[in-house]
């Protein structure tokens, strides 16, 4: 266990680290975060003992750092500094062997089997065995860094201090290196303290984080307690947005640039929609922030092209994604910039309408077919079919995250109301349908103009969405039924 008690230190009269106290439990990985000049490296030097503290002390397993003889300390604690250039070259093996220095004593001490085993293991872990006789200066920065990590591991110390271990590494090597360190930390119960520049990387790998600013602790705790938008913004003096990691329960941040996206006018208009028997297409000059349940590019993202494509009722739904991507590319659009849905309904019957309120306008586009109406309250097993009611809502305004979700809810409620109004029946249960089996919904916003924090049914935008979706859906059902009659 590593205890830091009330430690202060700096260079000359300048106090850079100011009375910090914290402790790191055995087997725990602590990440130190902070802007340049916040005292991260100084704190690291205080912990490693290179810089004597002006006040306070560091304790390892209850024993003061100053009481350790140099070699004994090196057997307890290994340090990986930032990469430096060297005047002379060593081979990889010689470099890693130096990690065994603290384990050797006496005038003529020889290389023991234990030394050899530790070096071999470290070389294998870091995947540098094949470079054993290579000179380190002939290796790339990433490989050199791996050699130095191997040197630190060969020390067989229970505490590992790392100063930006992933500096100069590409993302694959960053991941590999941190995976190796993390794995070692778990298997050998190492205590790891590491400086990170990258908040996201730190949040992913560390059990605990410490946010440092001007030599003081701003926050310490689990990543979710430390990586908070407000703290990160005030410490790093930059705008960020916080969001969850897609696979791990760890927070991640995204930088928000100081340079804004173009300020030009951009308005989604109903007249710019292209409605043909083959598809409904809207192409925007600038990307729209979009949340949807489409076939291609579902979820959230920024996209320029929006397609609602008509496919045959017998369309093979099994590899619809690949087929749809191919279709988009064939039409000369980029699949990465396009949200695409499909429908079995005749797309020339799509309703596209513009609605206006004080804040601006929204455009609603609906294609509807009600052949396979579903009453969602009746849980009956059904066959999967191609989507039938596709609802698009495009807002000329700035929607918040919650407004996107509220817009979806409002649109869905309006759709259900439209189905009731049109008395659409679930053919399986004979009850009133609430939708069809594979409806899709899309909400997009220009993120320009007025800020719309909410889009519930009583807000201005919510009213437009509710009334607009209802009206368009009713009309689309009329057209669908008329087409069926003929």
């Amino acid at each position: 266990m590593l205890q830091i008690e009330n430690i202060s230190g700096g260079y000359g009269d300048k106090k850079i680290v100011d009375s910090l106290s914290f402790q790191v439990e055995k087997g725990c990985m602590l990440g130190i975060l902070g802007p340049n000049g916040s005292g991260k490296s100084t704190l690291m030097k205080l912990i490693s003992g290179v810089l004597p503290p002006t006040d306070g002390e560091v304790r390892i397993d209850g024993r003061a750092l100053a009481d350790f003889p140099a070699k004994e300390l090196a057997r307890k604690m290994a340090v990986l500094p930032q990469l430096h250039a060297h005047a002379f070259s060593h081979t990889v093996r010689e470099t890693i062997s130096l990690g065994r220095y603290p384990h050797q004593s006496g005038w003529f001490s020889s290389w023991s089997e234990e030394d050899e085993a530790a070096v071999q293991e470290a070389m294998q872990l870091l995947n540098v065995s094949q470079y054993e006789t290579t000179l380190i200066e002939q290796m790339s920065g990433g490989e050199q860094q791996r050699v130095f990590v191997a040197q630190a591991l060969a020390q067989n110390a229970s505490i590992l201090l790392l100063d930006e271990p992933t500096n100069h590494l590409d993302i694959n090597h960053q991941k590999e290196l941190l995976d190796t360190i993390k794995k070692q930390a778990i298997e050998k119960e190492l205590t790891v303290v590491s400086i990170f520049h990258d908040i996201n990387l730190a949040a992913m790998y560390c059990d605990e984080l410490l946010l440092l600013d001007e030599g003081r602790i701003v926050r310490i705790g689990e990543p979710h307690e430390v990586v908070r938008t407000h703290d990160v913004e005030s410490v790093y003096k930059t705008r960020v947005s916080n969001h969850p990691h897609p696979e791990l329960p760890k927070p991640q941040i995204t930088l928000l640039p100081g340079v804004r996206r173009h300020a030009a006018e951009q308005t989604v208009r109903a007249c710019d929609f292209l409605v043909t028997p083959e598809f409904v297409v809207y192409q925007s000059e600038w990307p729209l922030k979009t949340v949807s349940s489409a076939v291609v590019n579902a979820g959230s993202g920024w996209f320029r092209n929006f397609i609602n494509r008509r496919v045959d009722a017998t369309y093979n739904i099994d590899n619809s994604y690949e087929e749809m991507v191919g279709y988009i590319e064939d039409s000369g659009l980029k699949a990465t910039d396009t949200v695409a849905m499909m429908t079995a309904v005749r797309t020339e019957h799509a309703i596209v309408r513009e609605y206006e309120a004080d804040f601006g306008t929204i455009v609603v586009s609906v294609t509807a077919g009600v052949g396979n109406g579903v009453d969602v309250s009746q849980a009956v097993s059904r066959e999967l079919r191609v989507g039938t009611i596709n609802t698009w809502i495009m807002v000329n305004g700035i929607l918040s995250d919650e407004a996107f979700i509220q817009a979806m809810i409002t649109a869905t409620e309006a759709k259900t109301k439209a189905l009731q109004h049109e008395e659409v029946i679930d053919p399986l249960t004979g009850t009133m349908a609430t939708g069809t089996s594979t409806d899709s919904c899309l909400v997009a916003a220009t993120q320009l103009g007025e800020a719309l924090p909410y889009a519930g049914p009583i807000t201005e935008v919510g009213k437009l969405i509710g009334a607009g979706v209802f009206e368009c859906t009713v009309e689309a059902i009329h057209l669908y039924r008329e087409a069926k009659k003929t």
């Binding site: 140099a70 070699k71 300390l73 090196a74 340090v79 430096h84 060297h86 010689e94 603290p102």
Partner: protein, 330 residues
């Protein structure tokens, strides 16, 4: 491991070869057989054992001392251009030696060791002063800064030596000849004077071979690896100064040996100090024996100062190392 054994075998072979050449080649050629059979030619044996052998042994000791000291200084300062000569340490030792002769200093108990001991003190003081000044100029102790500081100190100490020479009358010639570096006409007493210090100094440096390896990665890194940096640094400085002082006391300032030998050794056998130090010792001895041979044979019967030969080889190599370090590549 095989490579290491080979390195020592080759180096020892070169050394014994140079010793044999050194004692047999000269104005009076002597058959190598005389070495193990002195009675075959009493006159030749006399020349061999009383004139040539002490000269060869002294040249070997001086070369070994300067080379191992150079290797250690280079490792300590992480500076491939460092050696007793370029750092100004030789000049410091020379000032000590000249002072001893000039003032006729004789420290009780030390007797004949007064000269080397005061040279060593001169060397150590100069070394500390050079390092202190270089650190003041540039905390990172860049290669050029250290060498420039060495030149400043060499020039200054050189002027002090010149001043002392100017103030002496009759001993002038002797001191000038000695300053350019020479191992001629010294005999066995000089070997006895230098031998103990050179053995002690080399042993101290050898004890710190692993620390030197660690310190190549920087003092901070060495401390992380468990090296007691201050203590090791001081020991290496003292060891190097003892060697330089002893060498200068018996042979004057012979430049570049400490630069050329470790550089060549590193190039061929690698920069692991566990072997670099002993190999530099052996090869330094061999090189200076050969240089001395060339110095006395090239315009025979006149002898060139040995420093002329080492500078002739050493200065271009110095330039080459400097070029490579600054322009990168090998």
């Amino acid at each position: 491991m095989n490579k290491t054994v080979l390195a020592y075998l080759v180096s020892l072979f070169l050394l014994s070869g140079s010793v044999v050449l050194g004692v047999t080649v000269g104005t009076v050629p002597i058959s190598p057989a005389v070495i193990w059979n002195p009675s075959s030619d009493a006159m030749a044996a006399n020349i061999l054992w009383n004139i040539r052998m002490p000269r060869v042994v002294l040249a070997g000791l001086v070369g070994a001392a300067l080379a191992i000291a150079g290797a250690a200084f280079q490792g300590l300062l992480k500076n491939p251009l460092a050696d007793p000569y370029t750092l100004g340490v030789s000049s410091g030792a020379a000032v000590g030696a000249v002072m001893t002769l000039f003032f006729g200093i004789s420290i009780p108990f030390l007797g004949m060791f007064t000269l080397p001991v005061i040279s060593m003190i001169g060397a150590l003081i100069t070394m500390l002063a050079v390092m202190g000044f270089a650190r003041l100029v540039d905390r990172s102790m860049k290669m050029e800064t250290v060498i420039l500081t060495g030149i400043i100190f060499s020039s200054f100490l050189g002027s002090i030596i010149s001043l002392m020479i100017a103030l002496t009358g009759e001993e002038l010639r002797q001191i000038i000849g000695w300053l350019l570096g020479s191992v001629s006409m010294r005999g066995w007493p000089y070997v006895q004077m230098a031998l103990p210090f050179i053995l002690i100094g080399s042993f101290v440096l050898w004890l710190y071979r692993r620390e030197l390896n660690a310190m190549l990665f920087g003092e901070e890194r060495a401390q992380h690896l468990g090296v007691e940096v201050k203590k090791s640094k001081m020991a290496i400085l003292i060891g190097g100064s003892v060697l330089t002082g002893a060498a200068v006391a018996v042979s004057g300032t012979i430049g570049f040996v400490g630069l050329v030998v470790p550089h060549m050794t590193r190039l061929v056998w690698g920069s692991d100090h566990r072997h670099l130090l002993p190999l530099s010792f052996i090869n330094g001895a061999a090189l200076l024996i050969v240089c001395d041979l060339v110095a006395r044979m090239i315009i025979s019967p006149t002898e060139l100062p040995i420093g002329v030969i080492t500078a002739f080889i050493g200065a271009p190599i110095f330039a080459l190392i400097f070029f490579r370090q600054r322009r990168g590549g090998l």
